[in-house]
Structures are given as C-alpha cells and as structure tokens.
Amino acid sequence: MLGVVIRRLIVAVPLMGVISFIVFMLSSLAGGSVGQAILGPTASAASVAALNAKLGADRPVLVQYVDWLRHAITGDLGLSVVSGVPVADTIASRIPVTMSLAVGALLLVIILGVTSGAIAAIRGGVTGRLAEVLAVLGRGLPSFWLALIAVLVFGVNLAWLPVSGYVPFADSPSGWIQSLILPVVVLGVSEIALVAVVTRAEMLSAMRSDYVRSLRANGYPWKRIVFKHVAKNAAGPVLTMVSLVFVSLIGGTILMEQIFGMPGLGTLMVSATTKHDLQVIQGLAVFYTAMVVVVFLLTDIASGYLNAKARAR
C-alpha cells in the first residue's frame, strides 16, 4: 500500500513542477512585464524598468522560476500583481466555497449515480436505457445554460431558492445549504448518468462472471452475491470514473461560481484572467493541479484496497 502511494507521489510531484514551469514559461513568452501590468500601458519605460528591478522581474526567466518555486514550496505563492495581497491567502480564503460546491456535487453524483446504476443492473428494463439517454444529454447540454434555466425556474418563478450568493456554514448552516442546492444540483446533474452507466456496465460484467455462476450454483442468497461479491468487483472501475468526474466537477465550479455569484476559486480565476493577474493565475493553476493529484492519489489507494491484483502490480 505504501508502495502505491510513493509511486504515485513520484509521478505527482514532478507533475506539479511541470505544470508550474509551463505556466511560468508561457507567461514570460506572452510578453509584457510584471511592472507594465501593474503600472498600466501609459507608464514610462523608466518607471516600468525600475519596478521590474525592484520586483526582480528583470532577471532571467529561469532564475525567476526557481525563485518562485523556492517560495512556493514553503506555501508562499507571491503577491497579486493587481491587489498586492498574498496569493496564498486569497486562495485559502476561497477554498471553502469551491470545496463545498465540488464535494457537494460529488456526493450527489456518487449517491444518485451508483444507486441508479445498481438498480439498472439488478432490475433491468427501462432504468438502464434511461441512464444511457441521460448520459448523452448530460454530456450534450451546456451546464451554464442548464444553470440559467434552473435559476429561472426555481429561483425566479418559483422563488424556492436563492439565485446567487454564498452563505458561509459558520454564519448559518441552513443558509449555507440553501445557497448550495441549486449550484450543486446543476453542477452534478450532468455527471450522474455517466457514473450510472459505468456502475451498471461494471456490475453486469461481474454478474456474467464465472465466480458469480459458482456462487449461485452453491446457493448464495442473491443479496449477498450482488451487494458483496459483485459490488466489490465493480467498485474499482466505478471509483476511477468518479475520480475523473471530480476533475470535471472542479472545472465546472468555475462556471457555477460565476453564474451564482459565489466568491470561490472560480470567480477568482475568471477575474484574474480578465485582469491578467499572472501571479494569481499561476498560483491557481498549481493549486488546481494539486487538487487533482490528491484525488488521483486517494483513488489509487482505494483501488488498491479494493483490488488485490492492482495492489500487487
């Protein structure tokens, strides 16, 4: 087990280095110095040069990158070019919003996706077909458009739920839940069917297997076969699918936060993109990658627990 973690980390740590390096290089290639960005296009060349020198932005790119990396390892992601606030602090303050959204949607996807996939595998009939149709729809319908329709129906017309904003859990747990319902549901809904389809397919392939035939022939009750023997074999691939879904949910939070006016990492990303705040963009790129890496790591550990063969490899 420890071996799996270490092997994953050996891939993961360089990956984050590579991502940050690519982003760093791209921003230097894009032209326009940090000083220019801060002082604006009307600033004199001399004052830009002076500021660049002060910030160390006149050094070679590689030197700057190594410098940035040295600080990043200690958790210092530099200062926002636009606001002057430490990037790490800004990110940290916004994590709860984005994580509430992403984890909430993930739970929704797991609970509904796995349940409906299992029902389709056990009972057959329309459920399986429906999941396949919904999977196509989920992939095909743009989530930001669905979000607007949800806002229109449930927020404006029915006035059941708030249409924008985020209430921290500490302020009001019920307000927190209400502010999350619409964005979480819209974010998750398109992925539910995908998980359902994979769950169904994996359970069916386990049900067709020789060992299930042997268990049936030896008189095991169906619930034990399905919910223990089939379930454990199907769980690994479903988990892998869920981890991929989480990556796509993290991307989806950007749009949801924008639509529902939530002060999370996504809105930070969009505003940094609009303002060309390179330090923030860089910090976010690394942070997002780190999140994905952590999720993959957890998935690997869980898969190893579920699948003896994967563990041996």
Binding site: S27, P142, L148, M207, S214
Partner: protein, 652 residues
Amino acid sequence: MSAVIEGAATQEQSRRAAERGAGFLPRLVRQPIAVACSLILLVVVLACVFAEWVSPYGPLDQDLQNTAAGPSASHLLGTDQLGRDILSRLLHGGQVTLLGIVQAVVVCAVIGLFLGLTAGTLGGWVETVAMRLCDLLLAVPGLVMLLVILGIYGNNEAAAMITLGVIMAPTLARVVYSATIAVREELYVASARVAGLTSFQIMRRHILSGVTGPALTQISIVAAVACIAEAGIGYLGLGVAPPAPSWGNLVTDAQNMMPISAWMLVPTGGIIAVVTLSLTLLGNGIRDAYMGRSSGSSKAFSWRALAVTVSQAASPAGGGAAPLGQESILSVKGMTIRLPRGSSEVTVVDDVNFDVAPGEAVAIVGESGCGKSMTISGVLRVLPMGAHVAAASIAFKGAELTSLSEHEMNAYRGTGIGFISQEPISSLNPAFTVGHQLEEAVRLHRGVGKGEARQIARELMVRVRLPEPDAVAKKYPHELSGGMAQRIAIARALAGEPELLIADEPTTALDVSVQCEILDLLRDLREQTGMALILVTHDWGVVAEACDRALVMYAGQVVESADVRSIIAHPAHPYTRALLQSSSVGIAPRQLLPVIAGTVPVPGSWPHGCRFASRCELAEDACRTGPIPMVTLDEGSAARCIRTDVDELVRT
C-alpha cells in the same frame, strides 16, 4: 513456399479488414439517429459558413422599436435587447464556435493519432514515453488551463482552443493506442510482417482500418467538448468581445434579459445543445456501426433476467412418477433446455432423462457443444440469460425442483447439491482472499459463528490436502495455481456437506499430474462422505478413473447410458465407440488415434432422424427417417441406436 502461404493468408486478412471498413458506411447510413444528426450538423455548418448570404439581417443591425421580442415572421427566433435579429447573430456567432471546434479537433487529432499510432506500432521506449506523457496530461483540469491561457494571452481564443486540443489529445491517443495494439496482435498484421511488407505498409493497410472507428468516435466527443468549452469561454466574457456575436456571449445576453423575457434562453442555449447532442449521438452511431451493432440492439441484461424460466412439462407417455425415482438422489425426467438466439429460441438440451443413485458417480461424456454442461446447469438453474428449462420432473431426494422459485432453490444448492466449475481460478471471486471465501461458505451453509467457521474452513482445507492451509487462506485466487484453486473450490463445495457433488470438467484446465491428484481427491472424498457425483468430462480416462456409470451425450441428447466397465468394453452406440477409439483408453501405445470425421451439428440444425447419422459409418436410410428412441439393452444399459445388432460384427 511458406511465404506464398503467408501471402495468401495476408490477402485473406486484408480482405476481411477491408470488409470491415467497407461495411462501416452502409451500417452507419442504416442508423436513423446518426443520419439525422449528420444532416443537422451539415445544415448548421453550411448556414454558419454562408451566414453573410443566408442570415436575414446583419449581426449588428439594431431595431430599437422591436427589442426583446419573441419569435415572429420577421424575426424567426426573436430579437435581443437592442432589437438585433437573434437568428442572424447565431449564424454569425457560429462561425467563431465552429472555427474553435476545428482548431481543437485538428490539434487533438494530429497529436492524438501521432502519439497513439507511434506508441502502438513501434512499442519499446517510444511506447513508454508516449503513454507517460498521456498520464501527465490527463491530470490537467481542462477548463482551468484554458483560463490560464486566456489570462496570459489576453482573450486569444485560438490559443485557448489549441490548448484544449492538446489537453484532450491523451484520451484520443489512448483510444488509438489500444485499437492499434488490438490490431497489432491480430494474426493478419503478424503475417503481413512475415510476408515482407514494410512497417509503413502495415500501418497504412491494416492498422488504420482498425483504428478509424474508435478514433472517429473519440473525435466526435472532442468536437462536442470543444463546442461547450468555446461557448463557455464566450459566456464568461473571455472570448469574442461584444458587440460581435458568439454563441457563448449570446447566452450572457439572454441571462441579462431574463428579468424581461426568458425567450432568448431558448434559441441561444438550444443551438449549443443541438450541436453538442448531435455530435455525441453521431459518435455513438459511429461506434455502433464500427462494432457491427445496430443501434439499440443490445438485449437488456440484468440480474433479474438471469433467473431461469422453469416450466413443468407433461410427463412422457408411460413415464410418470417412476417408482425407481424413489431410490435416486437425483432424478431428471424429460428435461429440455432452450436458449434465446436472436428473436427466437434454440433447443440445446433435448428430452434428457437420467437418475443418480445415492453414492453413485455418474459421468456425462461427449464432445464440446453436445449439451453436457447445459444439462447440469439446467438442474442447478445457472444458465445464460433468457434460458428456459422444461422438464416433467427434476427431483432431488424426492423433492420436486421444477416447482421451486429461484429463492427456494437455495435450500438445495450448496447444502444438498455442491458445484465446482471448469475454470478453478475464475470460479473464485478475485476480490477476496480464498480463506475469506471459504469461511463465508461455511457460515452460510452451517450457520456457525466466525471463530468456528474459521476452524471448519481450516479443516476443509486440510481435507482437500492443501499444504500450509494458513498461508493459502491469506492468498487471493490469482496468487494460486490452478490445482490449488480447484482444491479451494472443492472445499467450498464441501462446506455445505452436499449429498451430491456436480463437477463441470473439474480437471480440464489442469496439468496432467494435477488432474490425477484432483481425481484421487474426489474419489477419496466420496469414499469418506458417501456423496454422489456427477462429473462432466470429455476424457474417458477421467471416466474410467472416477465413475461408476456413464451417460454419453450427442447433439443435446443422451445417446447411451451404461456402467463404465461395460461401456468401455462393449460400447453400444457408434458415437460412443468412435469417442472411445479417439481417446487413448484401451488403445495400445504408439498407435495413432483416429479422429471422428465431421463436426457436431450445432443446436438449431439437428436433423430429424439420428443426429449422428452424417458421421456414422453404419448409417442406413432407416436411421434418417425419424427420431430414434432409446433402446433398452441388457444390464440396465440403453442406447439411442437401431443398429446395435451389427455392433459385434463391426468391432471384430
């Protein structure tokens, strides 16, 4: 000479590959959904490309008298907040989106095909490097990277879409890679290489034809994702700057208009949905057409559908509830099994009768496809989906099994009748240790607690002569040899202390020396417990070694039934004789083993008369005119043959 043969094989295989490619388009055209999606996409693309001529208004033409209007004759899709025609703006805006899709798809296709094909065909370190690169890219969250690029390059959409293409390339590369590997491992590429074609020719002629379908499917998915991503960028205000239209910023306009009129949401989001859905469905259509499936043909498989339909057939004339059945532990009367094939059913086991006495070992012998395994699966009701068992009676210790529900069957399966299957390793669940599986069986069948179950499981492992039972118990099935796994499977079947053990070719998958050990074990266990045994096999050696009586099956029927000693010495049915002659039993060393000419007729094409007639050297016209009944011979043996009288003549 061999090169010529190889060349011929290659031509044959090329032709098959070409057929697969050629059959692809017609199959695609036969799918109404795929055709409809292609047409929709074609219309949208043409309308957008020729927007200057097609659209009724300019994209920026304002009509301030007529703002935020719904659909009308003059504005088919209504107008926006400035009275601009939405249809015209959609068509012009579509140009940006379509361009973005093309950029992403081209980049993705070039990189993905290159990586996948080189990794798949060249192998070695290229394969390793390319696949590692793919792993790396898969961990990059797509939308985040797009925003990074847009942030750095100041709303440069082309840069964003190219980046998207790069990010999506590894998925395509993986698809192409696995398709290439599959083709590479197929015989025809190997033979093409032997025939002296260059590797470029191999790639072009074979691999591309195998890769096209999966690659096109994946590319249509990439196009759908690119469409949504481009619209998303536009929606976030990071793409084309207003007043120029794009599909994304039209949704933003619609959002701003929501308090006044919700209509604008319909056409703006609708066009994105229509295009992405069409691309996704077209991708599904391509996949189905490539795999030779017609859309929606897959039968609904489910756990519930596994339950076998059982019906009690009328007793055969003169049969009735045989008093003989009283002393049998298992008595099967008139069992017929049908399996679904296409839209109809096909009979695979035809009116089978047999009895097993307590403690008796009965072999069911025959070639593959004669219905041996089906027969025992029918008794246990573990048949493929949609199977139908009809029998006058299947009685276990006097209890009628045909009238039991699937749930009620569990009172007999495991405890009354134990089962071991042909593939020992795959008959055990790969996800649990074998010790756990054994303990589970003990707890289930004997209703004992955890500690006691562990103790009994250990005793069972000792009884099946597993060395180091404690160490083996901690292992997973894939860590065991076939022989060890079969011992575990036998131990599991013994957990319920069955009075009848059914073994489906228990030694076929094992080495010869292990086969003997397993047979010895089965015989010894039978002596200890007095349980009866049904052993399915095609090996007369196994029959002679382990069984008292043999049932020979051919084409779904029992053709001969007799005790083992007499059947080996004096086979009555020509098929039994042929089977025995083609095995090594009773044949002098170094003598060539004859094979039976011809093949077993497949279910559904069984002749009306004797089913063995076409392969039988004794066949005469009378054999082919009608069904042959079982003829009772002396000493409780019977054969389905009308020419048993000439046997003695022929044998000498």
